[in-house]
């Protein structure tokens, strides 16, 4: 359909994760830091998968 859904998912979590980590660090709330780190890591994984899929598709053409 012309849109790899992993891209917006990855971008959204990569944006949300660091915001949570910074908030947690500033306010001393470990839950924000831990959850934010997991969210950011997940976002990076999704972006990596989207990039890998795009590279595979272009090399097979």
């Amino acid at each position: 359909m012309g849109l790899d859904i992993r891209l917006p998912i990855g971008l959204m979590f990569v944006l949300m994760g660091p915001i949570l980590v910074v908030t947690g660090a500033l306010e001393g709330t470990p839950l924000n830091v831990q959850a934010g780190s997991c969210i950011a890591l997940f976002g990076l994984i999704m972006l990596g998968l989207a990039r890998w899929a795009r590279n595979s598709a272009s090399s097979s053409r």
């Binding site: 359909m1 998912i9 949570l20 997940f42």
Partner: protein, 538 residues
Amino acid sequence: MHALRVDLQPVDWLLIGIYFAFVLGIGFALKKHMHSAEDFLSSGAGLPTWVCGLAFLSANLGALEVMGMAGNGYKYGLFTAHLYWLGAIPAMVFVGLFMMPFYYGSKARSVPEFLKMRFDEKTRGLNALSFAVLTVLMSGINMYAMALVFEVMLGWSMHTSIVCSALVVLAYTSLGGLTSSIYNEVLQFFLIVFGFAPLSFVALQAVGGWTGLQTRFAERPGMLHLWRNAVHAADNPMHIEVAGLTMGLGFVLGFGYWCTDFLVIQRALASKDMLAAQRTPLIAAVPKMLFPFLVILPGIVAAALALPLPDQNYDFTLPLMMKSYYPSGMLGVGLAALLASFMSGMAGNVTAFNTVCVYDIYQAYLRPQASDAELLRMGRLTTFGGILLSIGAAYVVMQFNSLMDYMQLLFSFFNAPIFATFLLGMFWPRATGHGAFFGLLAGIFAGLFHHLLHHTGTLVYGTDMAAAFYGAIASWTTCAVVTVVVSWSTAPLPPTRLVGLVYQLTPQAPASGAWYARPTTAAAVVGACVAGLNWAFF
């Protein structure tokens, strides 16, 4: 001020704003790909399997899965997990292995259209109408739940919240149709997981882990077991005994929903091929198995800690837990996850509603010669109409004090009888169109009549949930009996017409591919896992 009112900080609003920006952005990104009615209503049948699998699960992740289940965790304890491990997973395996080949292989665009192929036009019409009513009512639940959260947590008026949520869903579903709804469901799925998993974690820590829970429930052991207290209704918190539970929930309601509800079947039909369509519910079954730990556990902990629920309303369990344990930041993510669940539930119902209205009502009865452009226009119009009707339904739902009871009641009217129609239609060649139509009609009325008897106090059950399970058994049985009797009294359909629609008359394709990639292998693994969970929490 309401006891659940929270004071959101700028960071919470920022996180919620990011979520809304991406939801609408996906709709805008897909708008340029909507060229035909098929693109808009059926997604062009070419989405990746994992996307369809997560959407299959997420379309069902509405208010039921979060606020309703957390509330049930508080009310019924771990017994609520029966709704997953008994009422969902076996049915998801069954639909993947046995029913999807007929749905996908028949090339039907909707479940009512399959009924037309198997039976006749009037059976399709009846199912299309009853399904349209069901989707509108279900969409209303999600809208109401969202408005309730906004009202009690943020102080917004119900009316403002309902209009706002309707506008957002209208925007992204009318822009990108089914694909936009499915893609957003996948995004919302991950947000729901990350929004609620930390809550389960901190809540369990707060109560002293599983051992702490066992200590607190020492006087009420039924709250932490699935089967040990299911023999007698009086011994378990749901007040239902094992026969009603397995037949009502495990068979009729579970299979009725997961095997015949077009809302979820539509996600599998958007797959790229038959194998992918079969894998869709099996993929969905894996995260589905784990959802009790995400949504029921916080409710059980709230009950263990005896947290007082505002207005004695069980639906406030999850907002209460979020307010109690989430700091600013995670509160924004948690609220965004709540909004995600409501919107995915609402959008899923609206996209199923517009497909059925366009293909099974408008094109079938009103304009059989309609051009593709006209159908596309109607798709957008019915999306708007569906949301307007959902707003009306949201005001009806306000009269019920538990979302879950209301939903099970609806399923007992609509999903339970249609499962009998499908079971007989797919596995009994003698079933006829007249039999299916009158059976379905009788089943729906039997469900309504049973509810009337319960409502007036003629039939008494321990809980509304137990009443819904028995209502489902009544409507399923009535539908099955009437279908069989009427079918025997009417002329049979020629066997040649039923090839590809009835199991016994359809040549079975030999298993192909590596053994580990076959749907049967995945089904066996899922079955073993769910059996293990039942054993572990016996």
